[in-house]
């Protein structure tokens, strides 16, 4: 096994220069492989976003019937704790919504970065009936690669690492 032992990459331990995460006063949301910077947010322990930013983050829209993604709607009702209005601006509690959906998240409040995991109900459906999950990643040439691009072919999906 000795030949397998190698120091990873000492020069890469801290390879990047420290730089500002986002504009002063902004917040950043990480979800489903995306990095979404939000200029207007009320961020404390919770994260209140505008309806427009909610749609940018996870595709949910606020409608009379509730918070909706495609045909799926979660009724909010009047007086919902997930909604508040200040002046003309409506705010939606993204963290409260995640808790309601039992969607895991990790927040770095100090730097105003919120990382959301997948909604468990959605994740469970991903490999139902042994169907391959959809994913979207970039290849080394920056082409988008999706599982669904390979319908009609056999595919070996393989992971490895340099470490």
């Amino acid at each position: 096994m000795a030949e397998e032992v190698r120091m990873a990459y000492p020069d890469l331990r801290h390879p990047f220069e420290k730089k500002p995460i986002h504009r002063e006063g902004s917040a950043t949301v990480l979800y489903a492989g995306k990095v979404i910077e939000i200029d207007r947010a009320v961020a404390s322990e919770s994260l209140w976003v505008t309806p427009e930013d909610l749609a940018r983050i996870n595709g949910f829209e606020l409608k009379p019937e509730g918070a909706c993604f495609e045909a799926l709607c979660f009724p909010l009702g009047s007086g919902s704790k997930l909604l508040k209005e200040e002046g003309d601006q409506q705010w939606f509690d993204l963290v409260g919504f995640a808790e309601w959906l039992e969607q895991p998240y990790v927040a770095d409040v100090e730097n105003r970065v919120w990382s959301f995991g997948e909604v468990p109900a959605k994740r469970e459906g991903m490999m139902a009936n042994a169907m391959a999950p959809e994913f979207e990643v970039l290849d080394r040439q920056s082409n988008v690669v999706r599982m669904s691009d390979y319908k009609g072919k056999k595919a070996l999906i393989i992971t490895w690492s340099s470490w």
């Binding site: 220069e17 999906i157 393989i158 690492s161």
Partner: protein, 206 residues
């Protein structure tokens, strides 16, 4: 890596693709040269956020899934070395793969949906949360926050202690690297807890 390229060339089947994803927070700088050295011509992904492992619920490398023309998984999540290897590789997997590419659903190595479903790992709330923590650590790494990176990678490891990927990826931050003394000790504990380092490869399981 060169072995997979060799198999890919040998099969030379336009209806077969290899999608190979390096689970490497070090990015192109560390994974790219390995792809290049193998003269890889298949789909090459440097998967900094371990997106492919997350999608297929993999917890170690190498791991693989066979996906047929209809998008159905017919084998999943086996220690997938193309040849013998001290960590549990063997020389029976690659011939089985070739058999499947040639014979499709008639291959004896194609598994029933129920078997595949049984072999797909489940994800608890904490394990899904570990992905969010790992992603956050990677984000901070990109911005040069080494302390935050370590904090969130550790959090990911604590939330999903079964993930060898998290254990070893974290060790790349240490001077001894991912296969040093700490790793050997940890793997001893891991196996001691009754966990398989890889799910045993059973080619007779239908």
């Amino acid at each position: 890596m060169p072995v997979w390229q060799h198999i890919y060339e040998e099969l030379n089947d336009p209806n077969f693709v290899i999608i190979s994803a390096a689970q490497d927070t070090g990015g192109e700088a560390v994974a790219g040269p390995i792809f290049d050295a193998a003269n890889a011509t298949y789909v090459q992904i440097v998967d900094v956020n371990h997106t492919i492992s997350s999608a297929f619920n993999f917890i170690n490398v190498p791991a693989a899934a066979w996906v047929d023309e209809t998008g159905k998984i017919v084998r999943i999540d086996e220690g997938t070395y193309a040849k013998t290897h001290p960590f549990g590789g063997n020389d029976i997997y690659a011939p089985a793969l070739k058999d499947w590419v040639k014979n499709g659903e008639n291959s004896e190595y194609v598994q029933a949906a129920a078997t595949v479903t049984k072999n797909i790992r489940t994800q608890s709330f904490d394990e899904l949360k570990a992905e969010a923590a790992f992603r956050l650590g990677n984000f901070f790494r990109e911005y040069g926050y080494a302390d935050k990176t370590e904090h969130y990678w550790e959090m990911a490891k604590d939330l999903n202690p079964g993930s060898v990927n998290y254990i070893r990826q974290n060790l790349t931050l240490s001077a001894e690297g991912s296969a040093g003394e700490s790793f050997m000790k940890m793997i001893g504990e891991y196996v001691g807890q009754g966990r398989d380092y890889y799910r045993p490869l059973d080619l007779s399981e239908k």
